[in-house]
């Protein structure tokens, strides 16, 4: 599949908040409560369309446990977007850790990375421990986009991924990124803005490899 742009996303947050479920819901449109916990990193990808342009999202789903932070940090490199996820039913453990996740992201990702804060498991309203307002407040303070979502019911899942992409796309149009510099987590594909890296990784049908 050819694309105009490829954006690299990274999903971060404490273990068990539903990062992998969010990814699966977005890529496969299903909720699978029974799956293996994430070790290291896992990948997902999906095409979306923004402004009539095909955009490929390549999503990195990371392991959340504290011990793995040092390795998780190496995944930030070249991410255009990050979904920072907490679990609305676990106030103390997951919401309180947001600040340290954010710190990691700010430190190891590029400064223009778009960060979406997601309060997941909003289907479990009866067990809510973090109010929507608290989430909004945190996002506002730290300049993040915010949404509550449910990987189980799929509520706001599309929206979360796509509005992040739309924000990145807007930044491109505003000239925030040098899209030919892949360290911003953006690759230009066919139909995108031609640049030095135009066409690279553009299509599976691309023949052979170049040999420079």
């Amino acid at each position: 599949m050819s694309y105009a742009y490829l954006f690299k996303y990274i999903i971060i947050g404490d273990t068990g908040v539903g990062k992998s479920c969010l990814l699966l819901q977005f890529t496969d449109k299903r909720f699978q409560p029974v799956h293996d916990l994430t070790i290291g990193v896992e990948f997902g990808a999906r095409m979306i369309t923004i402004d009539n342009k095909p955009i490929k999202l390549q999503i990195w789903d990371t392991a959340g446990q504290e011990s793995f932070r040092s390795i998780t940090r190496s995944y930030y490199r070249g991410a255009a977007g990050a979904l920072l996820v907490y679990d609305i039913t676990r106030q103390r453990e997951t919401f309180n850790h947001l600040a340290s996740w954010l710190e990691d992201a700010r430190q190891h990702a590029n400064a223009n990375m778009t960060i979406m804060l997601i309060g997941n498991k909003c289907d479990l309203a009866h067990r809510r421990a973090v109010s929507t307002e608290e989430g909004e407040q945190f996002a506002k303070e730290h300049g993040l986009i915010f949404m509550e979502a449910s990987a189980k019911t799929a509520q706001n899942v599309e929206e979360a991924f796509i509005s992040t992409a739309a924000t990145i796309y807007k930044k491109i149009q505003d000239g925030v990124f040098d899209v030919s510099n892949e360290s911003y987590g953006i690759k230009v594909g066919y139909g995108g803005i031609p640049g030095p890296s135009g066409g690279r990784d553009g299509s599976a049908s691309q023949a052979g490899g170049c040999c420079s």
Binding site: D36, L37, I39, F43, E93
Partner: protein, 708 residues
């Protein structure tokens, strides 16, 4: 008097007496006629032929027309003994299948006998007796077939001049220089990859280093061929565009070469009549399938007769020596020649050496090699019983570990044998002792388990660490192997067992606590053991070694990934350089492999097979790192060819999950491990998991494990 006993022993040989006589006649005739002139000359320099045998022949191929006969001699000069084997000059009437070049190639020019490490005598049921002579360097000469007999007196003569003893392991092996550990000795002398250095020096010690004691001993038989051919053959021109290709080829063969040298020395160490050697002979086809589908070379058009040979060391030797002697333009014919050698499976050697494959003759850079010993069928309960004495002790743990290393275990005996491999049971414990241990350990487990079971809700409210740990474990056990029938479904009791064991472990080893990945390690153990307490103690034993993988500061992981980078540097320097240039030297892309021992890279059965192989610590305690190297090396061409960056590489490696051919990988890893030898082990700092920690006290430096 031992000597005469030995000599007497030699006389049990049917042709001993006759050949002894023959030898004497020959010697006399040598002195009198054949080489009379030379001897006279050499005597002036103190040289004396103490043994001479005609029609000693090598078999470079299966074709009788390509055999090369010659004369084997032992020559004494001053106090030193030298061995020579000079091929006969081509007779005018010969069909000419053997070229002069071949003849020169195999000529053995006055090797000091002190350079010989060992000699293996082969006595096939049909055919001629032959010897394989292995040098201290680890290199072996092609088998020398004694068409006229004379093996015994050759050995007897040697024995009169050098210290020659029979190997304790094998009556057919004679050690000339009785090193403590011959293999290690030979490994230390091996060079490491790097095509140029291979081209420059790898073979020279064999021939060129052995200065002929007397030039007169050659020449008379083979004309004026000289050592200069060996010394000056590496005419790689600096500006030759084909040079890079040639170096690649040499690099590939350099590993084969080293492997060949090692396997030949291995042959000497192996007990020839291993139980499972017989299996090999029965199923030669087992090693035949070509793994094109997993070589990553699907797109490559293989030659129709793509072959998988189980060559004897001689064959590899031939390929190696041939290719070094040739210019780039000549490489292809050599390749063809190598491809021709497929049916030549000398019965003994073939099964011990393994396989190498040459795929696609047309393109050298597409050559792939699969090597290492063929895998064996898993150890079953009947054979397992043979490893136990009457009281149930494992009598030869090394043999057992070796057997498992090459074949793994059948499922029904895993629960018994894993306990030994993991170190929970001592090999020399009796069955009764183990039964007793199980009951003691069960009580101990229950006590440990009760520690957390007895935490009241009120206590729990004041015990954050406990609550967090329990919460984490509760979350993870329902995300562990739930697709396997053993753990699937709601309220599966096995999931509860996983939870209980992990929680108990986090109390047993409170400093380490619980970390993600542990449930992956426990799950197969519980699946195999079924019993809760036994699973716990096996897990404890495993964590003695793998615990550092889960240290908060990740030092166990970092030291392994560091060692891995050193091993790749050693065994695949182009790939290492590529990683270095692309900022991939942290090897984080191998993180999951190492953290949970490839648990996620194979299906359940294959994963258990791999684990038991790793746990034998047979070739190396760190065999898992060689497995990493084997997989990386296999895909190195693709990684570099597609110029994968860190991200792409990570994704690529992740997606290899389920795509890795375990058997081929194990064989490659074994070969790499043997190739690397001491230099490989030197890459791995002491205490690197799964080695036991250097200082047990510092196992788990106090760490704050609240998730903040």
């Amino acid at each position: 008097m031992q000597e005469s006993a030995e000599l007497h022993d030699l006389s049990d040989d049917s042709d001993y007496a006759a050949s002894q006589q023959q030898q004497q006649q020959e010697l006399r005739s040598v002195v009198r006629t054949d080489s009379g002139k030379k001897i006279v000359e050499s005597e002036s320099e103190g040289a004396e032929v103490v043994f001479l045998k005609d029609n000693v022949t090598i078999h470079p191929t299966q074709f009788a027309s390509e055999r090369i006969s010659g004369r084997l001699r032992l020559i004494k000069q001053a106090s030193s003994l030298f061995m020579t084997w000079i091929p006969y000059k081509e007779r005018a009437d010969s069909v000419g299948a053997v070229t002069e070049k071949d003849r020169n190639l195999y000529t053995i020019r006055a090797v000091p006998v002190t350079d010989i490490r060992s000699i293996r005598r082969h006595t096939p049921t049909f055919g001629w007796q032959y010897l394989i002579i292995v040098l201290s360097s680890g290199l072996a000469f092609p088998p020398l077939y004694f068409y006229n007999g004379g093996v015994r007196e050759f050995l007897a003569t040697l024995k009169q001049h050098v210290f020659l003893v029979r190997s304790a392991d094998d009556v057919n092996v004679f050690l000339v220089n009785d090193f403590q550990d011959p293999l290690q000795k030979s490994l230390s002398s091996l060079e490491l990859p790097g095509a140029v250095s291979i081209a420059n020096s790898s073979s020279t010690p064999t021939f060129a280093n052995s200065v002929p004691p007397n030039e007169n001993f050659e020449g008379a038989d083979v004309g004026t061929s000289s050592t200069s051919q060996y010394g000056g053959r590496h005419g790689l021109k600096v500006n030759d565009p084909a040079r890079d290709l040639s170096i690649q080829v040499l690099e590939k063969f350099s590993l084969v070469t080293k492997f060949a040298r090692l396997t030949t020395s291995n042959i000497l160490r192996e007990i020839q009549n291993d139980g499972f050697l017989a299996n090999d002979r029965k199923k030669p086809s087992q090693s035949l399938p070509v793994n094109n589908h997993e070589t990553g070379l699907d797109e490559v058009q293989s030659v129709p007769d793509t072959i998988s040979v189980t060559p004897d060391p001689l064959e590899i030797f031939i390929v190696w020596t041939s290719i070094e002697g040739l210019s780039d333009a000549e490489l292809c014919p050599v390749k063809q020649k190598a491809l021709c050698r497929k049916e030549n499976q000398g019965e003994e050697a073939a099964t011990r050496v393994g396989t190498f494959e040459l795929v696609d003759c047309k393109e050298f850079d597409k050559i792939t090699l699969v090597w290492g010993q063929p895998r064996q069928p898993p150890l079953g309960s009947e054979e397992w019983a043979t490893f136990l004495d009457a009281e149930g002790r494992v009598t030869d743990s090394k043999a057992l570990r070796k057997r498992i290393f090459y074949g793994g275990l059948e499922q029904q005996i895993r629960n018994e044998v894993w306990k030994f491999l993991l170190g929970y049971h001592e090999y020399d414990s009796t069955g009764a002792e183990r039964e007793y241990l199980a009951s003691v350990k069960k009580v101990e487990y229950e006590t440990l388990k009760y520690q957390w079971q007895s935490v009241s809700p009120a206590q729990s409210r004041r015990f954050t660490k406990f609550r967090e740990r329990k919460g984490l474990i509760d979350k993870d056990v329902v995300r562990t192997d739930r697709s396997s029938s053993f753990y699937d479904g709601d309220d599966n009791p096995n999931v509860i067992l996983l939870r209980d064991i992990l929680l108990t472990y986090s109390f047993y080893n409170f400093d380490l606590g619980y970390c993600q990945g542990m449930s992956d390690l426990l799950s197969p153990i519980l699946y195999v053991m079924k019993d809760e307490s036994e699973s716990f103690w096996c897990f404890v034993a495993l964590m003695e070694r793998l615990g550092p993988n889960f240290n908060r500061d990740q030092n166990g992981m970092h030291s392994q990934l560091f060692a891995l980078s050193k091993l790749v540097e050693l065994l695949d320097s182009p790939l290492h350089n590529y990683f270095r240039q692309n900022d991939c030297l942290n090897y984080f892309f191998c993180f999951r492999w190492v953290l949970i021992q490839f648990k996620r890279e194979f299906d359940f059965e294959k994963m258990m097979r791999l684990w038991e192989v790793l746990w034998t610590h047979y070739q190396s305690e760190h065999f898992h790192l060689y497995v990493c190297v084997a997989i990386l090396k296999k895909h190195g061409k693709k990684i570099m060819g597609e110029e994968m960056d860190f991200d792409t590489l990570l994704k690529f490696i992740n997606e290899l999950s389920g795509q890795i051919d375990l058997d081929a990988t194990l064989r490659d890893a074994e070969a790499l491990c043997i190739c690397a030898g001491e230099n490989g082990e030197a890459c791995i700092p002491p205490g690197t998991p799964p080695s036991l920690p250097v200082e047990a006290d510092l196992l788990y430096p106090l760490q704050d494990d609240t998730d903040t």
